[in-house]
Amino acid sequence: MAVDLEKILRPVDRPMPPFPPKHMTIASGEEMVIRQVGRDEIPDVLPFIAPLMYVERDFYDVVAARVYSELMAYYKHRVQDEYVLVAQIDGELCAVVNGRMVTEDVGMSLHTLALRRGLRIGAHAFAAKMEYHMDILGHKEVLVVAESPIGFRRWMIEYDLEKRFDIPHELGGVPSWALTRELFERARDTLVVGRRPVPDDLIEKARAGILPPSDPPTPPEDLLAATRSLYDPTGTALVLQRWRQEGKVGG
């Protein structure tokens, strides 16, 4: 008797209403669109996450490796009730956030990965994720953990998350923190921003294609680059490092 193993291995997703896209002006004055992507767009996202697995700084390596596996699992139907949101500026991929619906009342925040830094892009994307859980999926609370001190400052401190240390989080089994509805409502006016509907030109540009990040975190070739300029007759090793990363010189 033939057995279709795929039917056994593939979880059955429950229906989840879509995240309505929104847009906002970030500190640079650029318009950023946050929208949900389906499985069909995951192959367009993965190539931009992979290089971050080699950035040791601020736990990018851990987060990128996990995001890559979570998105791949989503793409290949090996995770249940996951969703993925992306933040884009002029089509450029700036952040990826994802999470899961655990029950009808509880959501599980998985990751927030900023591909451009310093402009609160990751924080805006995280807020959109919480908005999705609370306002769209109707969750009563979202379980959250942070893998980096930056994440801890952004989530645990800014949202004043409650401890749920009796619940191991899906990310490494570490103690969870929770964003409750009350905490979310308290943060709504200050941290959860954006406008709907997204103007046609913005959303069309975002949907037209996921473009590479213009300034992603990169692994330093030489942590002492500024100093090594001593031995670099062309200028500073920092400049050389950037040229290498931009492909202007070999090696």
Partner: protein, 391 residues
């Protein structure tokens, strides 16, 4: 006194650095020695504010001298809060001017990001009065915020003016390879858009996030030498023409007029007098914009603009890179970063670079006279320096 020249300069990236503090101090020194074409100096001054507290390391000068293989030259740490850098330059200047030494290495370094931002803020707040200010929870942002509120009421400075300083300096930093912040910002994004309050929240009203400098690691170095030495080295002749320093009350609330920064005024006046220059002679300046309001007020107190009119000059674009008197072309503390002990040296590094004509895309055209203001405490210990390009 003998004339004193800057014959070598070096700097690290201002960011979070992963190597030890003594190396952060030593690497720019190695670059400066190479720049000067020297292998040894007579004496070292190492500017640092917090190694004992933040990095659990004291006796930094000895470590730096040894790291650089400059023993048995004498070496000592100069600590004067965030003005440590310029104080160290002043010490080096006096040592060469007096004839005690012919060559002096002045390096400033700080590794603040070894601790988190809250601890770093707490560390910097130790320069406030321990009994009259610090125990009540005063921090530098909160002092600056109270100062800003008074200034706004008295002189008509608005949050828009503060945002204009932030945008100008952070965008200047885009042209500085070694600056901490490399993100373009706009007034629209940090002040006017519906999301501006989230992008740029209040840290201590009326100061917002982008009104405050980042917490940085970094080092910078100058090599100072006598005229005889300098002429023999063949580098562009940039002379330290004027040095001024003044103090003010430790407690800000004890000042007769809290919106006056008298130490800035006096230190600048001394520096200009020694140099035989006037504020109108200055082509380019680096001012201590730990908070955006400070650039505006210092630009008045040093004499570039009349009191209460710094923000109007800013509005007219006079302090932009293309303006009549570019201020903080390096990005300033706001954009380049503020490793406290290194900042004064980094300001001088930028001015020397400008006067040599080596500042690349941010070069101020025909710069011959430069000026720095390094602000210690909340204006209670200030060092100003004037530089002149001679050849």
């Amino acid at each position: 006194m003998r004339d004193v020249y800057v014959v070598g300069i070096g700097i690290t990236s201002f960011t979070r650095l992963e190597y030890p503090l003594s190396e952060i101090a030593a690497y720019p020194a190695m670059m400066a020695l190479r720049d000067a074409g020297l292998a040894a100096v007579d004496h070292l001054y190492v500017a640092n504010m917090g190694s004992g507290r933040v990095n659990h390391q004291t006796g930094l000068a000895s470590a730096v001298a040894d790291t650089l293989s400059l023993t048995p030259a004498g070496a000592e740490v100069i600590e004067n809060g965030p003005a440590s850098g310029a104080s160290a330059i002043k010490a080096g200047f006096l040592a060469v001017a007096s004839g005690a030494y012919d060559t002096v290495l002045v390096t400033g370094a700080e590794r603040m990001r070894e601790v988190n931002n809250l601890e770093a803020t707490d560390f910097v707040a130790t320069l406030t009065h321990p009994i009259a200010e610090n125990i009540y929870g005063v921090t530098l942002p909160s002092l600056a915020a109270m100062f800003t509120r008074l200034y706004m009421e008295r002189y008509g400075v608005t949050e828009r003016h503060l945002a204009m300083v932030a945008v100008k300096n952070q965008n200047n930093a885009l042209l500085n390879e070694f600056a901490h912040l490399h993100q373009r910002i706009t007034v629209e994004g940090i002040l006017d858009s519906p999301e501006a309050m989230t992008n740029n929240p209040y840290v201590s009203t009326p100061l917002r996030f982008f009104d405050c400098c980042p917490v940085s690691d970094g080092g910078a170095c100058l090599i100072l030498a006598s005229r005889e030495m300098a002429e023999g080295l063949g580098r562009p002749l940039v002379r330290i023409a004027g040095v001024g320093q003044a103090t003010d009350t430790h407690c800000v609330h004890e000042r007769e007029e809290p919106t006056d920064l008298l130490a800035v005024r006096r230190a600048a006046s001394q520096a200009f007098e020694m140099a035989g220059l006037a504020p109108s002679d200055v082509d380019v300046a680096e001012l201590h914009d730990a908070f955006t309001i400070l650039e505006i007020v210092e630009s008045e107190e040093v004499g570039f603009f009349p009191k209460g009119e710094g923000h109007l000059a800013l509005e007219r674009g006079e302090t932009s890179l293309e303006g009549r008197l570019p201020i903080n072309p390096s990005g300033g503390l706001k954009g380049r970063g503020h490793p406290v002990g290194a900042t004064g040296v980094a300001q001088a590094h930028e001015i020397v670079l400008q006067l040599r004509g080596e500042a690349g895309e941010r070069q101020v055209a025909d710069a011959r006279v430069g000026f720095t203001c390094n602000f210690g405490g909340f204006g209670n210990n200030v060092v100003c320096l004037a530089f002149v390009r001679e050849n």
